[in-house]
Symmetry: C2
Subunit: 284 residues, 2 copies
């Protein structure tokens, strides 16, 4: 994180950026989060992320920590105080601080809000996209409500660590023979006809904000989009494979479990979609 | 929690008991915990809890925060500083503080250790056991590694909240038609023959320490123990139903989803087992 964090009403230096040990986020993973990309001082897809934050809070019965206008003020202030123009902004809301006990605490307990920012380098990200990335596969052992963007991320951590140990950057998660999504990204393939395929929204995946925008971009580009589950066998035969997330935008995948995708180089559709995504996000 | 908490090397007043916002426990639920009962200044089943803590850490690749002897010193000191003789001691270990990123941080990052204590009233607990408690059922939507006692507890929180909203104290979790366990306790029934039945250990339940001791007590009492999954229909027909956990010891259940168990009063086997458990834990 950068030098200054927002923690429950105060802008604090990193060394003082602390929460109480009985914050329910710390003891129960009882909270949600969002990650927003900022380029040239402008938040990309911010309304989408804030809408999803509202939904996650509603699903868990956590009150909103403040109005959207106030959130926007904190988001802007955080960039100013950290002198950041290109950044990833992280925001987390938990059910607040209360004596440890599983059920929700009394109604008077205030939700906790933490926000941090760190520098993002779009050129580096673009350079990675030119090379493409490698992924592996792992069983999808997560809970049944991954549509909620909760901080209950231990299975995601383990899947990501497995990827890193295999010199890859992401793990695709396999459930009942189908690819649901990555540990921190949505999963896509391009079939023989040039159509792009990604798992439909529902309780089995997190409805990615970048995923939504990428679908809109594809439609603008007259690329057919199929929202349906696909198998690893289909991915192995795909013309192209890519992942999407706020942190990677649209990122080509060049190998799965050590097997080359196509000829092992990023493909044209992912590249086209990445450029369209950047244009759309910039002008939104 | 009581007045003084142990937080990463220091004994702190509650108001100062804080951890960094980038503690991986707060952002990723990347940690584990234990709850130990203390009666008359003596820890019950402490070795079992510490053994399980070691196992949880090992499964997640988190280093031990300190030796067992040092942990025992902190456990004792916490009781002394809080002047507690009857207490629930909570200890939590996370993978430590590092810039937010899913994979494990560099090897040099120190695990975080937090320990708290709060007063426990065994007489009140016994009084509850005389009356018995009501439970409901909920789908088991947890991840596939609930044998690890992780702080990734959001599904448990939601199941417990559902119980509280139904004027019950616990939710039994149903998976593939079988009762796995409660949101914070193990699940037991007594059949027509007087045998007690509980789900076997494995990845589908947390191997309860109180559960182990209760099994040993049952065997001492010549009660037959069957470790096998059972259905809700079997529970509805059971002579007795009860739950076990460090926080409830052996607690009779008198209703499931609003349906009386037997005649709606605590049964003799649960009562016998509770007394045997207390004797065994006291003299261990």
């Amino acid at each position: 994180m950068a030098g200054i964090a927002y923690v429950n009403g105060a802008y604090l230096r990193s060394s003082n950026a602390q929460v109480h040990i009985e914050d329910r986020g710390y003891q129960f993973a009882d909270g949600i989060y969002e990650v927003c990309l900022v380029i040239d001082g402008r938040y990309w897809d911010a309304e989408g992320h804030l809408d999803r934050m509202d939904r996650s809070l509603k699903e868990l019965g956590i009150r909103q920590p403040m109005s959207r206008a106030s959130l926007r003020t904190v988001m802007a202030e955080l960039l100013t105080r950290n002198r950041l123009k290109d950044a990833l902004v992280y925001m987390q809301v938990t059910r607040g601080v209360a004596p440890r006990n599983h059920p929700f605490p009394a109604a008077g307990v205030t939700p906790a809000l933490v926000m941090t920012a760190r520098r993002f380098n779009l050129d580096d990200n673009d350079a990675r996209a030119k090379k493409g990335v490698k992924i592996i596969t792992q069983p999808d052992i997560r809970w049944a409500r991954v549509d909620i963007k909760s901080i209950s991320l231990l299975p995601n951590v383990l899947a990501k660590q497995a990827a890193v140990e295999a010199n890859a950057v992401e793990s695709w998660l396999i459930k009942d023979g189908k690819v649901t999504e990555g540990s921190s990204s949505n999963a896509w393939i391009v079939d023989d006809t040039g159509a792009i395929i990604t798992h439909p929204k529902g309780r089995e995946i997190l409805g990615g904000i970048t995923r939504e925008t990428a679908i809109a971009c594809a439609r603008d580009l007259q690329i057919r989009v199929e929202e349906r589950p696909f198998t690893l066998a289909e991915a192995a035969q795909a013309k192209e494979v890519f992942i999407t997330a706020a942190t990677v935008l649209v990122m080509p995948v060049i190998a799965i479990d050590g097997q080359k995708v196509g000829d092992g180089a990023p493909g044209p559709i992912a590249a086209q979609l990445r450029e369209a995504y950047k244009e759309r996000a910039r002008s939104a």
